[in-house]
């Protein structure tokens, strides 16, 4: 089963410098964080999705659609109740609350989508290469990309372990919340033990291939700013400036 998020495609986005893709993600986060109302968030969301589509990364969203929908639904329900407004709809729910809930749903989901676009278009190996150029220590950058690498491994292992315990009669479908929570112990312990053992071999393999031999390290992947990088970064800076300007001058 393929559990890596990276999508090996040949698009301009995949060829971008990893730094550009990092900035695009962080820039999206910053802009999204500035706004709390529906209209600007919808515009930003559309831009982010457009950006994602230009790199053919959107099919990956299918894999997290449940998460996106759950977050959207939760946000809608919670804010509908929690945010009082002038136009009552039903009981404590107000029209303003619903709108705010939708806005928050878009806000959080768009951030996740921006992160997903980054992970779908950036090879794990590119992350440390790009970040080192941003003066982040290699070991820190490598640890981050390794953590990402571990996610699919852990998911894969938990999948096997769940099957092993279900074969022994563990029934995860029934019981109330507390009973069910207790049922996860036979899953969690083997997952931890297996991951720790696996990580140990991984660390030994790293050391045995000269990891940390010296601070001078060459890179097979070639990175550097090209035309596309410059255009995208310019657009990003302009959008950031526009957002800040709008934020200060209007009440969006």
């Amino acid at each position: 089963m393929d559990m890596f998020l990276y999508m090996d495609k040949d698009t301009y986005m995949h060829r971008l410098d990893p730094r550009t893709k990092t900035f695009m993600m962080l820039g999206s986060f910053a802009i999204i964080a500035m706004f709390y109302t529906l209209t600007p968030l919808m515009v930003i969301s559309a831009l982010v999705i457009l950006y994602g589509a230009s790199g053919k990364t959107l099919p990956n969203l299918k894999r997290i659609r449940v998460v996106l929908m759950m977050i959207g639904l939760f946000s809608l329900v919670i804010w509908s109740f929690a945010k009082p407004g002038a136009t009552p709809v039903l009981g404590p729910i107000s029209w303003e609350g619903i709108i705010y809930g939708v806005a928050m749903a878009i806000k959080i989901d768009t951030m996740i989508i921006a992160g997903m676009i980054f992970l779908s278009s950036t090879k794990m190996e590119e992350i440390p290469v790009g970040w080192v150029r941003l003066k982040i220590p290699y070991r820190v950058a490598f640890a981050f990309s390794t953590a990402l690498r571990l996610v699919p491994t852990i998911v894969g292992t938990s999948y096997i372990i769940t099957q092993a315990q279900e074969s022994r009669g563990l029934d995860l479908q029934s019981g109330n919340l507390l009973v069910r929570a207790k049922k996860y112990i036979p899953l969690l312990i083997p997952v931890f033990v297996s991951v720790i053992r696996g990580t140990n071999v991984f660390a030994m393999a790293l050391e045995s291939k000269g990891f940390g031999y010296s601070d001078k390290r060459s890179n097979y992947l070639e990175t550097g700013y090209n035309k596309a990088d410059i255009i995208l970064l310019t657009v990003l800076v302009l959008l950031l400036a526009l957002s800040i300007y709008l934020k200060i001058t209007t009440k969006l």
């Binding site: 990276y6 372990i161 393999a205």
Partner: protein, 582 residues
Amino acid sequence: MHNDAEGLDNPRGQEVIRIKDLSFQYKAQKGEKALDDLTLDISKGQFVVIMGPSRAGKSTLANCLNGLIPNFMKGKYEGEINVLGKNPAKEKVGTMAKDIGLVFQDFESQLFSTNTKLEIVFGPENFNMPRAEMQKIIARILQVVNLAGMEDRQPSTLSGGQKQRLAIGSVLAIQPKIVCMDEPTTDLDPIGKLGIFQIAKELHEDKDLTLIIIEHETEEALEADRIVVINDGKIVRDGKPQTVLREVEYFESLGLMPLQVPKYFNRLGVAQADLPLNPAAGMAKFRELGLVIEAGKYGELVQKDAEREQSYGDPIITLRGLEHTYANGNKALKGINLEIRDGEFIAILGHNGSGKTTLVKHFNGLLKPTSGEVIVNGKETKQHTIFEIGKGIGYVFQNPDHQIFSDTVYAEVAFSPKLRGFSSEEIDHRVKEALKAVDMEGYEQEDPFSLTKGERQRIAVASVLSAQPKIIILDEPTTGLDFKEQRQMMELIKKLNESGHTIIIVTHTMWVVAEYAHKVAVIKDGLMTMYGRTRDVFKEDEKLVESFLKPPHIVTLSNYLGKTSLSVDEFLYCTQRNAEKR
């Protein structure tokens, strides 16, 4: 100590590894040592195979060579090692990596890159190799490890054999002068194993490269220049394979698997120096001694197979047109019809990724057919939950660490009957019985995590047995165990079969299948390509090889004579000895 290392081409002054009085004790160890005053020299260009039972100190030795011990794993370290003029204990592991490359058994945890190319260059990058040179290295390594055309593949999509070859390639890319592989073939199918040894053979043609392989597959060790046998942290044998591998009785006393062909002739009383080592030489010896196979006795064996088949009960698992397509569109099973009857002992064989695990996961409802049907104990699996189907069928997963979670052995074994809602007296009774069956009585209060792999495997079996299922599936029950532990495990499974359980095993270990399974089903690319009594399937040497399987030596030898014997004992039984001269 028997030592004919003198007889080896061991030119003085050419030693690349010098080990003197090396002892190591892990922190957790009390009393015993992993390595005990071990002294060993290895010369440039040698191909050395290191053998020994579980916990003999083989991996400890390998990890000492590049300094993982004592730098990464701590403990009490004494003695001295010199690897190409450096002392690994005093250097960074990264520094040693330039001279000595280490490949581990667990290829899943060793590979971490997005594609094959990047996996190969990880080492060279660490040593600051210029990019132009890396491109040359990639092309060369892909050739050496036979992965040409796969440079853009994601490692996780490769087969087991390919993964391990990639792991070897990623180490070779650093261009070390010594390569040490720690049980590289344990998790591979027979042809995957052969692929690794093929690479080893080709690497050995480079007279500057020293090759050390830790291995317990005796058949493959024949290719080496030198075999070093370790037991209890000490070297007990050191010499040419032709000499060491003839010591059939000594190997047996250590709990190692002796080669089958010399074992057979040893039992016939042939002198040690004259023992043939492989099937071809065995055939010549067989003729020379004027031996014949008694048709009558062979007939008895065939007759016994037929009688056993008569004794089976009703069909207990029925597959009709079973197909399975995974969510990603990968069609793993392409229409399988199979009937397993009560009391059978069937082995499911197939290369890594053939679909055999997907197949058996249908037997207890972990997977449901996307087309066709599976009926287990009279229940159509699509209509029932795993919990219900699981009452009648137990499944022991390959890695015991994927299921063990309790503080005590007792709690672990009691888990399943508890979930099935039995009374505490009943549970107590069942745990006792299950532990007795796996020969682990008295271990009730032990911590399962502190046991050896072989013991943990037995606990995993006990924890399935305690639910008293009619059918037991075991996925690779002998992987990672040494020969003695494998024997114990298989004898245990045989006993379970004789006491009425239907047994289904998935395995790569061909001698285990030959000696224990009644029936064999071979899966290749999602289809069942061979099926029948073990003797009939193993008769077809060539067809097995087409399915990436390779019968054991004794089977091959007996096939030359047209009378398929499944074990040394069977072959001895059929041999007419009147013409033999002692």
